[in-house]
């Protein structure tokens, strides 16, 4: 488990959200336009939840290169993440066995508010 990227810190820029909108096809203006986000009661455009989840998956990519396979990945989106927020994602080892590893994953913004939480289950490739 030495290979886990235990912590990711990333600023959610407007350009990042714009690029994710383009690559994912999710071009809801609430992700892209401040005026639309403001109308919905948000201070800034809202980052895609799936962008956060995709960034979170980076913590396990070294393991996926080292014989482990992803079995299950779950995330709960508990608070919105906005453009210009800083996302910090951390993982914690919940359990480890010879054939299976379970990680807890949590993401927070710069105000230490939890924005996402979840679980990652990895199994060794047979």
């Amino acid at each position: 488990m030495d290979y886990v990227n235990e912590k990711i810190v990333i600023e959610i820029t407007a350009n990042l959200v714009k690029q994710y909108a383009a690559v994912s096809g999710d071009t809801n203006p609430i992700h892209l336009l401040k005026s639309v986000a403001n109308q919905a009661g948000f201070p800034n455009p809202v980052a895609h939840g799936m962008l956060t989840m995709a960034i979170g998956a980076k913590v396990i990519s070294p393991l996926l290169q080292d014989g482990w396979r992803l079995s299950y990945y779950k995330m709960r989106f508990s608070s919105p993440l906005f453009v210009n927020d800083v996302l910090t994602i951390e993982t914690k080892l919940l359990s480890s066995a010879s054939q299976e590893v379970i990680l807890k994953i949590r993401g927070e913004n710069q105000h230490w508010d939890t924005v996402v939480s979840g679980k990652i289950d990895l199994i060794i490739q047979n």
Binding site: I10, L16, Q19, Y20, A22, V23, S24, G25, D26, T27, N28, I30, H31, V46, A47, H48, G49, M50, L51, T52, M53, A54, I55, A57, K58, I60, S61, P62, L64, Q65, D66, G67, R69, L70, S71, Y72, Y73, K74, M75, R76, F77, S78, S79, P80, L81, Q125
Partner: protein
């Protein structure tokens, strides 16, 4: 429950008669270039997703798809119970894998409306995306959304 997912939706509440309904199967194949573009956006720099030699040395038949990539398959599937533009809140998302999905392989996908619960002016909806690799189910992905309706 605050992440937004832009989908086709309905201005009126979804009828519970749709529970259990599945979409048509669609076929899709992801190219290595599409994987690389996705990884560039999210800042995934692991060579596993960039270099076929590295992927094969790690035991994959081709470049693996990043874990959340299958959510993009939604864009190719029409859901008959969601007909108008609408914005929903996404509350939970999960991916379950029998096999790692890879580039240059054809997958067959469909979405089922699995659960629908109405509470006041909100509906909680669970959809399951099923991904078949021709030999059987390779992966599923559950998406839980909240649809909020304006009071008349």
């Amino acid at each position: 429950m605050a992440s937004l997912l832009y989908l086709k939706g309905m201005k009126e509440m979804i009828d519970k008669k749709w529970i259990g309904t599945t979409t048509e199967w669609i076929s899709t194949k992801v190219t290595r270039k599409e994987v690389q573009e996705f990884c560039t956006v999210i800042g995934e720099e692991n060579l596993l997703y960039q270099n076929i030699t590295v992927a094969k040395e790690a035991g994959y038949a081709d470049i693996p798809l990043p874990p959340t990539y299958p959510i993009l398959f939604w864009q190719s599937i029409e859901l008959p119970w969601l007909t108008d533009d609408f914005t929903m809140l996404q509350s939970d998302q999960s991916f379950s894998y029998e096999h790692t999905l890879i580039a240059n392989k054809t997958y067959h996908c469909q979405i089922q409306l699995q659960k629908l619960r109405t509470q006041s002016n909100q509906q909680f909806i669970v959809h399951r995306l099923s991904i078949d690799d021709g030999d059987g189910l390779a992966a599923t992905s559950d998406t839980t959304m909240v649809l909020r309706y304006q009071e008349e």
